[in-house]
Symmetry: C2
Subunit: 319 residues, 2 copies
């Protein structure tokens, strides 16, 4: 049996697991590091945590073939360099794959978390056996991973896949990225909550209060209320799905993928969201590429970070 380590670097929280060839996690743990430490010390922490998980697995070390690191923010996968991590700026500039590889004597690979998730879905999730995939994570923001001919497409400066910043309305809502009408502003957390509050302000009855998180309306609360039959929540998810489906229609026309995989917090809403997404796509895309594409939920769920990161190593080692 061959194993890969997946390091899901979420900023201060670091999840590390060992993944077998079938995509099952055989051991995992999560750690916290202090973002105020120097970059070198944080890297030392990561190395220690990883060593601990490998020791805990009691696997023969030679069966662990490589290590993949998925991180949010800007990075250079070819150089293995972290470039712009919003939450842990002390790591900016660090060549993390080299540092970890030297200490642990394994090949180490780095990519952004959305690309990692996309590769996880390709190897072990909904995308198994497919070649051309667009993977979307819809949560606070909207991220994207593009797989072409079974390989990640990273683009010229490794920033491909920013599907959340495709404009769906050139006179639309202003986005912090400087653009107008970014998809993320409509189907990301903020957009969903705005839409909910608009309906709520009209006095339509809602059972949302049962599902609030820390007293707040959240996409998760809306998803739960929708599954409980709440009218506003169902409508909000239907609209969100239609907008997302319309945007996916553009992607289907441009890239003609065989599969679009939707993950992230919102995918937990299930069919109340997914069916409007599919309908929105079919209504707006060309008939031939529309008929050729499946739109499905991501499969890996909470394990997407670890399994995806491990997939980065598997993809690069091709073993």
């Amino acid at each position: 049996m061959k194993y890969y380590v997946g390091i899901d670097f979420g900023g201060t929280s670091i999840k590390i697991g060992i993944v077998d060839e079938e995509g099952s996690i055989v051991v995992k743990n999560s750690f916290v590091t202090d973002p105020h430490k120097s970059g070198e010390k944080i890297v030392k922490d990561i190395i220690e945590f990883t060593q601990k998980v490998m020791d805990d697995s009691t696997l023969p070390q030679e069966n662990i073939l490589g290590i993949g690191i998925g991180a949010p923010g800007l990075l250079n996968p070819e150089l293995g360099q972290l470039q712009l991590l919003a939450n842990v700026p002390n790591l900016n500039g660090i060549f993390i794959t080299k540092a970890v590889s030297e200490e642990l004597n394994k090949p180490v690979f780095l990519d952004n978390d959305v690309n990692a998730m996309s590769m996880g879905e390709l190897y072990y999730g909904s995308g198994k056996g497919k070649k051309n995939i667009i993977a979307l994570t819809v949560g606070t923001g909207v991220g994207g991973g593009i797989i072409i001919n079974g390989e990640l497409y990273r683009g010229t400066t490794f920033t491909a896949g920013e599907i959340g910043h495709m404009s769906i309305d050139r006179d639309g809502k202003y986005c912090a990225c400087g653009n107008y009408g970014c998809l993320e502003r409509y189907v990301g957390k903020e957009g969903i909550i705005e839409r909910f509050k608009l309906y709520q302000s009209k006095g339509i009855e809602t059972s949302i209060n049962k599902y609030l998180e820390n007293g707040q309306v959240t996409p998760k609360a809306i998803a739960m209320a929708a599954n409980d039959g709440d009218r506003i929540s169902i409508e909000v998810l239907k609209e969100t799905g239609e907008i997302l489906g319309h945007a996916i229609a553009s992607l289907v026309n441009i890239l003609n993928p065989e599969m679009v995989i939707i993950g992230g917090g919102i995918s937990n809403a299930g069919e109340v969201l997914m069916e409007p997404v599919r309908m929105g796509m079919i209504k707006h895309a060309y008939i031939i590429p529309a008929a050729a594409v499946e739109i499905v939920k991501a499969k890996l769920g909470n394990n997407a970070g670890i399994v995806g990161s491990a997939s980065l190593a598997r993809a690069k080692l091709k073993i």
Copy 2:
């Protein structure tokens, strides 16, 4: 010296040329066929015309390595089959590469005209030496070709690149494809003329009458008037460029290409269009991919069809 035949199948008008390794056309001719003939007879015409051009070249036949056919409409490049040609329906279903190859004893390759143009620009035009390119033809409609890692990306059912049917306004103008807000409706011929007539109706003075084609306002007439300082025409092209640039910003965010090449009738307007395109892109795209991309005019101009089609053969034969 190695040569390739390029067949630019424009429907009833067929341009055929022989292209050398530097992308120069050594001999060319154009022919007309009757669309009411049977498919078999039209194919026979194409074969005869091609033989004639090869004979006229007086090149040793063994130096002509292959034949590429670029055609508008739906087709299957792997099977070499024409599937849905709007102007010559009698050819639908015909396996054209097999038919031509059997008669002329050369390998024959088929793709759509926009993909052919894109490959021509990659080998011999503005895209020389680049790897990740988006090529756009902006004329009556808007077509696109996507080159990834130096190869055409065709998608799952060979329909990738329909960039004209990316929606830039989800509540926007209705398009005949069934979608709303398609880019083509704003920057294609009809959209440009609509915009011109709107300003003209407001009584702003214009010198367009000097440039009308058959008494009609056309994008070409607008381009010529703009270069002559006509205020409305300049404004129309500026707006068209900004809209196109904003759409390209989405493509830059999604695909992070190193170059975007703009061809088709509108590119003849020159800098009065191109500068707003670049500005529109820079204003709306993320800083890193925006800084990494060049937006340039297509180089091949009137020869794009023949040279591009010949490039299809060169790409496939890899010689």
